[in-house]
């Protein structure tokens, strides 16, 4: 990069290095944070401003086959939210599923510099990488769907645990993924093979397999820990969205038994139940879920908060999308992927007067407000499932401003508030320091990105500078400066440069002999050739391999990111 820059007079929030609003200089040299820069370096005067590392989104849906299906599905959503081209940036469309260029620019314009696409079928990896290339500015990676993989299930049911681990490592390496992802483990076989059935308990037999979700989840947690992946297995639990599902969530976390695991969009998994007219109504079990996480440091979670308005439910959890279809959506979409996954898409609107929607909104806030450790309960709306990433500034204000929160609470279905504990945690307000943890330092640490989410010497120079404002939504909507790899991308609220960003991926080692196990399965049950399946580096353009703990140890180097 070669760029040098000195930011002066700003209040620096860098929780990883213990800086809580300290006024000090931040120096940038060759794309990284430096201790010092030459005296004639360009200076940004950040007086009256807040300096933070660039935002890191640990879980969103921004690229790949299912995202593009959801894009194609909703011309009405794009039409009213257009994104104009400039002399050097591309045009596009917005809505809940923006076009790729618009996605990158809008993330950057909110001060985000990295995001993780959370659900990619291995078979569709190339489309994800192509779309990510067309998603400018931000660094990105993706999680690969393995929790319904038929071959991995076969190895597991035969007790071939070592081969299971090698095959998992092969799949991550072959697809250039960042982390393994489980979605409603076991359900795809029930969905495709048993007339749209679903998994309802962790101890249910998975269709023709001599396996249960409990066994599958335990095996993946163990394998990911054994491989020393920078981010542990990323789990979308069974029974998402169902009343009473919190017991499944608690049980899933107990399976980890001290081993690392990440539970995603946990808001959707924190429901109790009371008898309703037709079906049981959900209630909040945020307190029970929070209590478990607060006391189990091996577990991390992102919230998956719900924000009112339009959303698009897009998930590898096909039975879930089918259930949501019953709530009045006219455009249910389903896409089965051979041997690997399911997929469901449903445009959805969260309404503040609807009991369940208001409850979901409240539970998201509760989970934040009950969290004792912001490093392990981090920020997400499961974009665009709980709401668009464009709603992040409003969610930040809801956490930071209790008067605003009270005003918003007054607008929603009050019966929902009766059935949750939000009124009991009214006093808490997040500080800027805590916001910096849940939106950048925490996600970066959970992802194992040691050069992101902080401003220590050697870190990637991904920096956002906000003008201080009493209205936190306004403040976080419009950063004054955004710096990516040392380059001034946004200056005085306007784009100055267009860049591509990097793909972050993991390449765990595996026994090459595992290919002899995988290839015959391909020949029998896949419709693309084994030799055409693995993704070569051409698809990555700018990229960076993040080492596993084992690789870092054997290289004798600190784990980079």
């Amino acid at each position: 990069m070669g760029a040098t820059l000195r930011i002066v007079n700003g209040r620096v929030y860098d929780p990883a290095n213990g800086l809580d609003g300290v006024v000090q200089d931040v120096c940038i040299l060759d794309g990284r944070i430096a201790a010092e820069v030459p005296p004639d370096t360009k200076t940004i005067d950040a007086r009256g401003m807040v300096v933070m590392p660039g935002g890191v989104d640990i879980h969103c849906h921004i690229a790949g086959s299912k995202v593009n299906l959801a894009r194609k599905l909703q011309p009405e959503d794009h039409r009213r939210d257009v994104h104009l081209r400039t002399r050097f940036t591309r045009s596009g469309t917005g809505g809940t599923v923006p076009s790729t260029f618009t996605t990158g620019y809008r993330y950057a314009a909110l001060g985000y510099t990295a995001a993780m696409e959370a659900a990619v079928t291995p078979l569709g990896t190339r489309s994800t990488l192509e779309e990510l290339q067309d998603t400018p500015i931000i660094d990105k990676g993706f999680f690969i769907l393995v929790g319904n993989n038929v071959l991995l299930f076969r190895l597991l049911q035969e007790g071939r645990l070592e081969e299971f681990r090698h095959a998992l490592a092969w799949w991550i390496s072959a697809t250039k993924a960042y982390a393994p992802k489980l979605v409603n483990p076991g359900a795809d076989e029930m969905w495709k093979g048993d007339r749209n059935a679903n998994i309802t308990t962790l101890d249910q037999k998975i269709g023709p397999f001599d396996l249960t979700p409990r066994k599958v989840i335990g095996a993946f947690i163990q394998a990911a820990n054994d491989l020393g992946l920078p981010h542990p297995v990323h789990i979308h639990c069974n029974n998402l969205g169902h009343s009473g599902n919190y017991t499944t969530t608690l049980e899933t976390m107990r399976i980890a038994d001290g081993r690392k695991a990440h539970i995603t969009h946990i808001q959707f998994h924190s429901y109790g139940s009371v008898a309703g007219k037709t079906t049981d109504n959900p209630t909040s079990m945020a307190r029970e879920i929070s209590a478990y996480i607060n006391t189990h440091p091996n577990i991390s979670a992102d919230v998956g908060a719900v924000m009112f308005g339009r959303s698009t439910s897009m998930t590898a959890d096909a039975p879930l999308a089918y259930m949501l279809r019953a709530f009045g959506s006219p455009k249910w979409t389903n896409a089965d992927v051979e041997n690997e996954s399911g997929c469901g898409i449903v445009p959805f609107t969260y309404q503040d007067q609807i009991y369940t929607n208001a409850l979901q909104w409240a539970i998201g806030l509760e989970l934040f407000l009950l969290s004792d450790d912001p490093w392990r309960m981090v920020f997400s709306t499961d974009h665009p499932n709980g709401g668009s990433f464009m709603s992040y500034p409003k969610l930040i204000r809801l956490l930071m401003d209790r008067e605003f929160r009270k005003e918003e609470m007054a607008k929603v279905n009050q019966k929902a508030l009766d059935n949750c504990g939000l009124r009991d945690c009214q006093e808490r307000e997040y500080s800027l320091y805590e916001i910096a943890i849940i939106t950048r330092a925490g996600p970066a640490r959970l992802l194992g990105l040691t050069a992101k989410g902080h401003l220590g010497v050697g870190a990637d120079a991904d920096i956002t500078i906000y003008e201080e404002d009493g209205d936190k939504e306004k403040m976080f909507s419009t950063p004054r400066y955004v710096i990516k790899d040392g380059a001034l991308i946004i200056e005085d609220h306007e784009f100055r440069v267009d860049t591509e960003g990097r793909v972050l991926h993991v390449a765990p080692d595996y026994d090459p002999g595992i290919e002899q196990v995988i290839q015959p399965f391909f020949e029998d049950f896949y419709t693309i050739q084994f030799s055409n399946y693995a993704v070569n580096l051409d698809y990555l353009h700018h990229h960076q391999v993040v080492p596993t703990a084992l690789q870092a140890a054997s290289a004798g180097a600190p784990v980079g990111g």
Partner: protein, 450 residues
């Protein structure tokens, strides 16, 4: 032909049709620049590989006179930069890499971009926007489908390996005996070479597909259908009831449909009715539907245009952002209305298949073509580039009809540039001529940024 002159390319991909079979073993005579054998390819694929040897052709023609690629790039860039309503069209027989550059040029110049989807499964795209779809990758159909219904197509002649590799005789995880484990139904207006494959053949009266589909939907939902349906459609109520019983009874049903449905009376209503039928059936069993796509990368074109603009085809950038309106910004229509003042046609030959009024307008305006072969369109073009053929000479990505992306393994090198290379050169030159993207007057935040 000496032995060291012969190269074998295993697991090569055939881009002739939307099946995009990637299991072809090519035998290549390097010195002769041709493929001598294409094992596993169907009759159409064999012809595709055989006919794409190298021909001695000028690198480019400008006004019918031979020119260098560089001269043609300059001429093309001048045309595009000077046009007020330029149209970029085609794209279904080239790589995603080239398609991405093409869409970026349309954005840069504020033009129009459209693909051959608008004249084949465009109505399916519109139906999808209305009702969604339940679909599956072809492997899932191979592994699981015990009922396969082909509607408005003739795969035996148009997509031969749809039967053998994916959906009929192919053996899968829960269909180990191939065709014996499936019931195959064919719905069409006439008997074709595909008919003998079917266990059940429904010959519908031309133009009555919608009525048949709607009657099936009614029966699936337990509604009464009048026996007069037979007079209207040619299919008796008893046959429809039997089909509905089979559809509900199967474990995994698949509806695969062609242009017999999308390009006849009813168009997107037909496609919508079929997609809705598949959706309805999911209350009883697992059911999917999928359009059978023609060109080798027409599905890639849909995907690229969608991820860059939000819309699948028929996109206009003249206001500084993408707008979508089939009929208004679909190429056949806007040419027939004499709206475009320049056209760049990539890997497509509208001159041979558009309506006469559209072709007449192509003759009036400066046209740029990129194609490995001489086409009707290239012969009326102001600038005609000769390009290398994707999949045979050019690597890159194509999407199978079920949205599965596949990498190409080219057989031999071509002296001609790829579509992507030419488009990148044109884009670079247009950018220089315009000083960056063309920004409509009055666009906020845009004017003073350079």
């Amino acid at each position: 032909m000496s032995e060291d002159n012969i190269r074998t390319v295993p697991d090569a991909t055939c881009t002739f049709c939307g099946c995009v079979c990637d299991d072809i073993t090519l035998t290549v005579d390097i010195a002769e620049h041709r493929i001598t054998k294409s094992q596993n390819a169907c009759v159409l694929g064999k012809a595709w590989f055989k006919e794409h040897g190298l021909e001695e052709r000028p690198f480019a023609l400008i006004g019918g006179r031979e020119a260098t690629t560089e001269e043609a790039v300059e001429e093309a860039a001048q045309i595009l930069a000077g046009a007020r309503f330029p149209v970029i069209y085609g794209l279904s027989d080239t790589t995603c890499e080239a398609q991405r550059v093409a869409v970026s040029i349309a954005d840069m110049i504020g033009g129009n971009v459209d693909t051959t989807t608008s004249v084949c499964h465009g109505p399916t795209g519109m139906a999808f926007q209305n009702v969604g779809e339940s679909t599956a990758s072809l492997g899932e159909i191979r592994n699981r489908a015990d009922l396969v219904i082909f509607w408005g197509g003739n795969p035996a002649e148009a997509h031969p390996r749809l039967f053998t590799r994916y959906a009929v005789t192919a053996k899968g995880m829960y269909t180990p005996n191939g065709k014996k484990d499936r019931t195959v139904v064919l719905v069409d207006v006439r008997r074709t070479a595909s008919t003998p494959v079917a266990d059940i053949f429904l010959q519908v009266k031309p133009g009555s597909d919608f009525e048949v589909l709607w009657a099936l939907r009614a029966l699936v939902k337990g509604r009464k259908v009048d026996a007069s349906i037979e007079q209207r459609t040619g299919i008796s109520l008893a046959v429809l009831e039997d089909l509905v019983a089979r559809m509900k009874r199967c474990n995994f049903g698949a509806l695969l449909f062609g242009m017999g449905l999308t390009m006849t009376r009813g168009r997107h209503f037909n496609a919508g009715a079929l997609l809705a039928l598949a959706t309805d059936l999911n209350e009883f069993t697992h059911f999917v539907a999928a359009p059978v796509r023609g060109h080798g990368n027409v599905t890639g074109a849909d995907n690229v245009v969608s991820w860059q603009t939000g819309y699948p085809f028929g996109v206009n950038f003249s206001r500084g952002y993408p707008r979508f309106n089939p009929g208004e910004w679909t190429t056949a229509d806007l040419l027939a209305r004499r709206e475009a003042d320049a056209a760049m046609i990539i890997a497509s030959d509208p001159g041979s298949n558009f309506a006469q009024a559209a072709i007449e307008h192509l003759k009036r305006i400066p046209v740029i073509t990129l194609d490995p072969k001489t086409t009707v369109t290239s012969q009326l073009a102001r600038v005609a580039f000769t390009t290398a053929t994707y999949g045979i000479n050019v690597p890159g990505t194509v999407y199978r009809m079920d949205n599965v992306p596949i990498s190409l393994r080219p057989a031999f090198e071509s002296p001609y540039p790829s579509d992507e290379q030419i488009l990148r050169a044109i884009r670079g030159r247009v950018r220089a001529l315009l000083g960056g993207n063309r920004v409509p007057a009055g666009t906020p935040l845009a004017a003073n940024v350079t």
